[in-house]
């Protein structure tokens, strides 16, 4: 089929971007209409990042994927061949039109006095975080703690491991997804601190009231880069290639960047965002997965694959 006006464009995304793309999509549709006169219908699909990648691999007809980690898009690329291997170089900023980071959400007044990653390892602090085995967001949490440990102990892996192990020992629950953890912490009232995406923490403040929780920003955290890519194979077959490329490029425009900042993500081009939106985001020193861990493929293999560091950390727990 050739390019047809009025064909739906499917963006397969992950959970915490639900609110963001609800605002981006109409803006893009209006922009596309103004430029080409074509009406484009936009569909968005949201679930856990890994589950979404698997759905695309198994045949979900996505034109565009906007996922939580590069590893998930890598998996689509290698398993289906519908995305070229160098996809991350095709768009600016590592194909991430927005970034985020990992912060702490604590109860009002911060009764346990949590200021930094090392405070999460203290006895008596209940930490809520999802399971890195099932949640992309949880993997960012883990790497945040690990990167902090490497920095603090000057690259000593053994000491870092002890710290991260102590943090996970403090976790009474491992939910399967980031949203689940937010609910466990905010609604069920469990735990003293939630390790969360920055945008998710702000959403929780908005949703449950700033009088109940506050955001604590660690001095050092991981720069989370959720990437986007056109699924060439699908978009070409559907005749959507052009509009799909326009869609991902639109994410870098000043208009989209302003929407991104409004939704608590850190825009790639902050100059386009409203000042008050930027002001709420705390100053944090970042390290990147590429520099600290040698990219997602390496991090995934070392920490989260079967028999990796995370399995090891849990293994030494005595069975009760």
């Amino acid at each position: 089929m050739s390019a047809q006006a009025g064909q739906a464009l499917l963006n397969v995304s992950y959970d915490p971007t639900r609110e963001l793309y609800k605002q981006i999509n109409p803006a893009f549709a209006a922009d596309w209409k103004a430029k080409t006169g074509e009406t484009i219908e936009l569909q968005a699909s949201h679930a856990g990042s890994g589950a979404q990648a698997r759905a695309v691999i198994d045949g979900l007809n996505a034109d565009v994927v906007t996922l939580a980690l590069a590893a998930d898009i890598d998996a689509i690329a290698t398993k289906t061949g519908k995305i070229p291997a160098d996809w991350q170089k095709r768009l600016p900023n590592n194909a991430s039109p927005y970034t985020s980071t990992i912060v702490f959400l604590v109860r009002k007044g911060n009764p346990k006095g949590i200021k930094d990653w090392s405070d999460l390892a203290k006895p008596g602090v209940a930490v809520i975080t999802p399971n890195p085995k099932t949640s992309g967001g949880a993997r960012w949490n883990f790497l945040g703690a690990w990167g902090y440990g490497l920095d603090k102990f000057k690259g000593d892996e053994a000491k870092t491991k002890d710290l991260v192990k102590a943090i996970y020992k403090n976790a009474p629950v491992l939910d399967t997804g980031a949203r689940g953890s937010t609910i466990t912490f905010a609604q069920r009232g469990l735990g003293d601190v939630l390790i969360a995406w920055e945008n998710e923490a702000f959403l929780a403040l908005q949703e449950f009231g700033a009088d109940k929780f506050e955001i604590i920003a660690p001095k050092l955290s991981v720069l989370a880069e959720p990437p986007v890519a056109v699924v060439d194979g699908n978009a070409e077959a559907k005749g959507n290639k052009k509009v799909a490329e326009a869609y991902v490029n639109f994410l870098y425009t000043p208009q989209a960047q302003a929407i991104i900042a409004k939704n608590f993500y850190r825009p790639a081009h902050p100059e386009a965002a409203a000042k008050e939106d930027l002001k709420r985001l705390p100053k944090i020193e970042f390290f990147t997965v590429d520099k600290t861990f040698g990219g997602w493929a390496a991090a995934q293999k070392k920490f989260f694959a079967d028999g990796g560091v995370f399995d090891d950390i849990q293994k030494q727990e005595p069975a009760k």
């Binding site: 698997r54 399971n131 085995k133 099932t134 976790a171 689940g180 069920r188 849990q314």
Partner: protein
Amino acid sequence: MTSPTFAGRNARRFKAPSVIPGFGLTFGYTLLYLGLVVLFPLATLVWRSSGLGFSGLYHIAIEPRVAASLQTTFSIAFLAAIIDLIFGLIVAWTLTRYDFPGRRLLDAFVDLPFALPTAVAGISLAALYAPNGWFGAPLADIDVKIAFTRWGILVALVFIGLPFVVRTVQPIISELEVELEEASGTLGASRLQTVVRVLLPPLVPALLTGFALAFARGVGEYGSVIFISGNIAYVSEIAPLLIVVKLEQYDYAGATGIATIMLAISFIALLVINLIQAWSRKRFGHV
């Protein structure tokens, strides 16, 4: 009448002529339907894990984390099915033998766990039993934790398994004649003797069926459990969650491997229950 899963004792033999025609057609349809809907997907499952071989499956099963989750899943499902057995019998008895205002409404409530999406069940149970929930808060005061422990799994499985026992036992109870109890009473039996020697034996096959169904459902349950169990490795991690974890790593063989192991254990368990059922049928006979 015996338990609904078994053909009546006057079922026809394979080749015996029948007044009502159409056996060939219906038998063919039955085979096709079962094959397409049940056997084919299961065969695919076994086929996808067959690359592992028997030793591969064995290695998956004895991997400590998998072994712990299998133990958690099967033991808690078994315990939950036992609880459902006892309370399901009481519920079924009350609903069939007594008449009271609102009985029909109550009767309809029994089916709700069938109809509810399991995730909804899990979320509501977690909200109830969480340390700040309606049940959880008073329990937390006396230092009892339900949600996010193994007890949470039990609560979820008891909830979703109850209708299986009630619905299999109910028709049998309604067929038990009150005269039998009266006869037993006039012959000098105590209430307990009447219950144990007159009322229970005909119920045993149906109870076992209900138990098996509740157990099987509990083993496969995912949605309602992951919200309330806490999912801590070696403690409250269920086998279906490990399957999802394997899928998350694109490890289809590993995932189907665990699934095949679960299938095998369930099959053996159900077979044993069926054997006991057949034995009890012989022992106690038909009503």
